[in-house]
Point group: C2
Chain length 603, copies 2
């Protein structure tokens, strides 16, 4: 099978040669996941993704979702792959087999997820959100709630959503106005309107479970008075089957720039009759519970961005190798110069190596973060567990924002490589860009992620997670210094890591000073440079693994390993100086941003 | 009238306070264009743009062009503004009044163009290309050709296009296969297919004139054998009116990511009967002639990109001032903090000042380049004329590529400021981004612009134009050093200019060495940093003009002038360090790009 969606060779490199994932099978929890099983899982995911899901991507975009008589119909072609996806038990890859999960390592689920989301993100959002809703039930539900909902969600029999946003409360969730009134039987009557609900209605599943944030009558204002409720589309009969409608009405769906295959619904709860919800978790602790889902969703959103980027990159490479146009620059003054494939042109090649560097760096970040989750699960003491958890918390905003920002840029380059063909709908590139744009916005805009990094994660636990991250980088640097050819790269990387430490210290201090606003004005570029150094780290790590193998590698692997070293060299030598320059800008405190009078924005 | 599309105050600042455009009226050629007339022209353009053209933007996107029975129908709403546009004599703003032009300075036409293209670029492409075709006739046509075509084009009575691209010859025009066979009467029979022809068919005008590149039977291969022909859609009767169809068939129109309101046509010439063309200019000199049109089109494309950016920026500022959400960061721990407009949030404000800096910098670049054209026309000796021409040639690839690249980023930020609303079609922001994407591709991809800068323009005339540009920058720097508050900015700018000189020298030398491929692999980032320093120059210039006025300004102008200084400070202090870092990357020669084995792109 030709390379589609993702570069399988590079997936294998990260899982087996960088992260040694099969080592996890030494532990009882993952004993089934030896190398052979890991490879089989990815191959199966790849087959399903390429053969069944990818062909629905254009249809999803072209046809979109249709709201008719209060019921949303997803694109017809989605039904078959959804059935196969559920049959393959892909909804809850890492979760408890008792409830329909596969119990696989999260790093492996990341690799499978790359295939699925790269094939058709709009499609994947249905099971993705379903899983997230299930996770909430698993974490906060009573035994009865688990019994009613969990297997139905984890098997994809029912759908799930995430109902936070209201017209007047977007990023500011605490301002919501949906209310819950307690009934005598312990249930609640829910009244309110939610907007921008992904998968908010669909005809893939026989029921939909909406986790809804609402305020119980008399609860405090702001986030402290918010509770979480499970609100099914159809009330649930005694025997657990879906029954009467629960007055959850889909009042409209958005016309969007992209992700047309996924419904973005406005939902009205209890407008035309009583809408019943069950409290999930404790009263007034809804935000805390929802953060569990949001954190998962943030990683998922980073994955989505990446999925677009990896697909766009693979398409661009394939196109650049096939498309013959223009002559070799060195031969352009020959009498009858032959035309060459455009991958020979330096500017096209620069774009491709830049895309490659970001895609492979982000792949490592995603799989590595997945592995941290697995290590949390396997950790033998609390200290170790806390260490891995700290790294996850620190990396989450970077993974969400950096991956989605860079992926958008990769998708734009993916259009550029195609030239005029990139702009027309006959080719996949323009859809990937349109679809990708949402990822920097939803699940907490990237600006909010940057505030999270600077305001919470950087100083968390006296900065220990950040120091741990730098410590991991230093280990790779030390290893690189042992390999003669990598010493120059290692030294450049060292400069960047040290400078990042200084800049982080500066940013942290500024954020705690009276210049707090200036610090937050620079939060997003600070996230960018942190992400850049993380990318550089992974590339150096890749080079450390690949360089010693070049000489003895099988013929087909030689170019691959050389490419790892060249890509690291490109990122560290050509790109990282820009990052260092940006760091110099950060220590100027971005004072003009807040200093400028508001009235000056339009003269 | 509220601020739409563009910031009128800033337009006035550039025209009157930076460029002193009214000074041109001292010369006979522009004697009609005193300050009052200049202001009136912009006000008229603004009224037409906001009242008549802007309302058609969404319709253009939603309805698009329809091909039915071989005839393209543009969106219905385009007809009225097109008529008004022609009646207002806006097609040929700078051209000879004898042929229907207005004879205005090009700098002024840029300001009007900003309004028009920002209101609806797809619409503006029809008269824009029509003007370009007219320019070709004016420059290369015989008297008879001028009589037949020129006034019809410059008044917009007939439409015009630009037929270069063929399916197998995109950026590589020399590979085209359209042929021209000489007839006994001196005309030629044209046979071939062209694709991606903007405005290639439409129902706005009674005839369409296609300038077509083709190879005369027996002419040399490559660009040296290409001639230019005028091929009307309808043959022209003796009395100058359109007659019989000329066998120019529209065989299809593209479905595109954006600019739906403009036809992107596939045209077939002479497939179903003889298609007659007239030679325009000399045989085999078609490419040279076409470059006249392409250079105009490149400036026009830079303007288009900028038009999207300026509209997106204004929308974003208006939205950020109106949209209330979240609390002031300094008051977030208050008991009942009030919600504030999102422009108060540091990250939103950073995005807005970044958009402002690029938009205002690009506006200066466009109007300044326009003024250079006017100065060519007014130059008193050949040396002076050559100097202005050199600057234009140097700035053209920067204007095209830098403006379209940065504008795409500005439009992406313009979505981000809107949050989720930026992604839905109800608001204008997502269309602006989709429309904008084409500008980095057509009229020579931005990669080709970068090659033009490095391979031709940098070393042109022994580097004199580049040295002239640095000389202009140094003048502004000297002026800034006379103003105490601007000295720190001037010094930072000085560092950047000096470093740009070094980097340009390095790039030029590398491009002439055996490392030529490495140089061209870095051509695009080199264009980026050159553009950045140009932006910094204009911002310093703005500050030089604005700073001394703050104290004595009328109340409503104080914030505006302060804003000029703050924006310059932002760009030079916060952004320029990134550029300096990127320059450090450039001097590493980007060697890994070409070094990496091609097979390594996919493992």
């Amino acid at each position: 099978m030709a390379q589609h969606i993702a570069d399988r060779r590079d997936q294998d490199f990260v899982l087996h040669e960088m992260l040694n994932l099969a080592d996890l099978s030494k532990h009882e929890r993952f004993e089934d996941f030896n190398k052979k099983t890991i490879d089989m899982v990815i191959t199966e995911a790849r087959n399903l993704a390429i053969k069944e899901i990818l062909p629905t991507q254009a249809e999803g975009d072209e046809v979109g979702c249709i709201l008719k008589d209060g019921q949303v119909h997803v694109p017809e072609g989605f039904h078959k792959p959804y059935r196969l996806f559920c049959e393959g038990e892909w909804v809850a890859m890492c979760d408890d087999p008792e409830y329909g999960g596969q119990g696989m390592p999260k790093a492996l689920a990341m690799a499978a997820g790359e295939m699925f989301t790269g094939a058709n993100c709009s499609f994947m959002m249905y099971p993705g959100l379903t899983h997230g809703a299930g996770k909430l039930v698993e974490e906060f539900g009573t035994d009865a709630q688990k019994k009613t909902y969990l297997a139905n969600l984890y098997t994809g029999k029912w759908g799930g959503t995430m109902c936070l946003t209201e017209p007047e409360a977007g990023s500011d969730v605490g301002a919501l106005s949906t209310t819950a009134v307690r009934n005598d039987d312990g249930t609640f009557s829910i009244t309110g309107n939610k907007i921008f609900i992904s998968g908010g209605d669909q005809d893939l599943t026989e029921n939909i479970v909406h986790p809804v944030l609402a305020r119980i009558e008399g609860a405090p204002a702001g986030t402290k008075g918010i509770s979480l409720f499970l609100v099914p589309k159809y009330k649930i009969n005694e025997d657990g089957t879906p029954g009467e409608p629960n007055n959850v009405e889909c009042t409209g769906i958005e016309k969007k720039m992209g992700i047309h295959g996924n419904t973005t619904a406005s939902l009205s709860f209890g407008a035309k009759g009583t809408c019943i919800g069950e409290l999930l978790g404790e009263e007034n602790k809804g935000m805390k519970a929802m953060f569990v889902m949001m954190n998962e969703a943030r990683l998922g959103t980073g994955m989505q961005g990446f999925g677009f980027a990896t697909a766009s990159y693979i398409n661009a490479v394939n196109y650049a190798k096939e498309r013959v146009q223009g002559t070799d620059l060195l031969k352009m003054f020959d009498k009858n110069p032959q035309s060459v494939s455009i991958i020979k042109h330096p500017d096209v090649r620069r774009q491709l190596i830049s895309m490659k560097a970001y895609v492979e760096g982000m792949r490592t970040l995603l799989y590595y973060t997945g592995l941290l989750f697995d290590k949390v699960n396997l950790a033998e003491d609390e200290k170790e567990k806390a260490r891995y958890k700290g790294l996850i918390e620190l990396l989450t905003p970077i993974l969400k924002a950096y991956c989605t920002d860079r992926s958008f840029e990769v998708c734009a380059q993916g259009i550029q490589v195609y030239g005029g063909y990139g702009y027309i709908r006959e080719y996949p590139q323009e859809q990937l860009l349109r679809d990708c744009k949402i990822t920097s916005i939803y699940e907490g805009t990237n600006g909010i992620q940057a505030m999270d990094l600077l305001g919470r994660k950087l100083g968390m636990n006296k900065g220990k997670p950040f120091m741990d991250l730098l410590g991991e980088m230093n280990k790779t640097m030390a290893a690189a210094k042992e390999i003669e050819t990598l010493v120059p790269m290692a030294e450049k990387f060292e400069t960047a890591v040290n400078r990042l430490g200084e800049v982080a210290m500066h940013m942290g201090m500024t954020a705690m000073s009276e210049q707090v606003l200036n610090a937050f004005a620079a939060a997003h570029p600070f996230l960018d440079v942190t992400g850049d150094v993380v990318m550089a780290w992974f590339h150096l790590w890749r080079a450390v693994v690949a360089a010693p193998k070049i000489e003895k590698a099988k013929k087909k692997d030689v170019a691959y390993y050389q490419g790892q070293v060249s890509t690291a060299d490109y990122f560290i030598t050509c790109q990282l100086p820009t990052t260092l320059g940006k760091m110099n800008g950060l220590t100027t405190n971005y004072t003009p941003v807040m200093e400028m009078p508001e009235a000056a924005f339009i003269g």
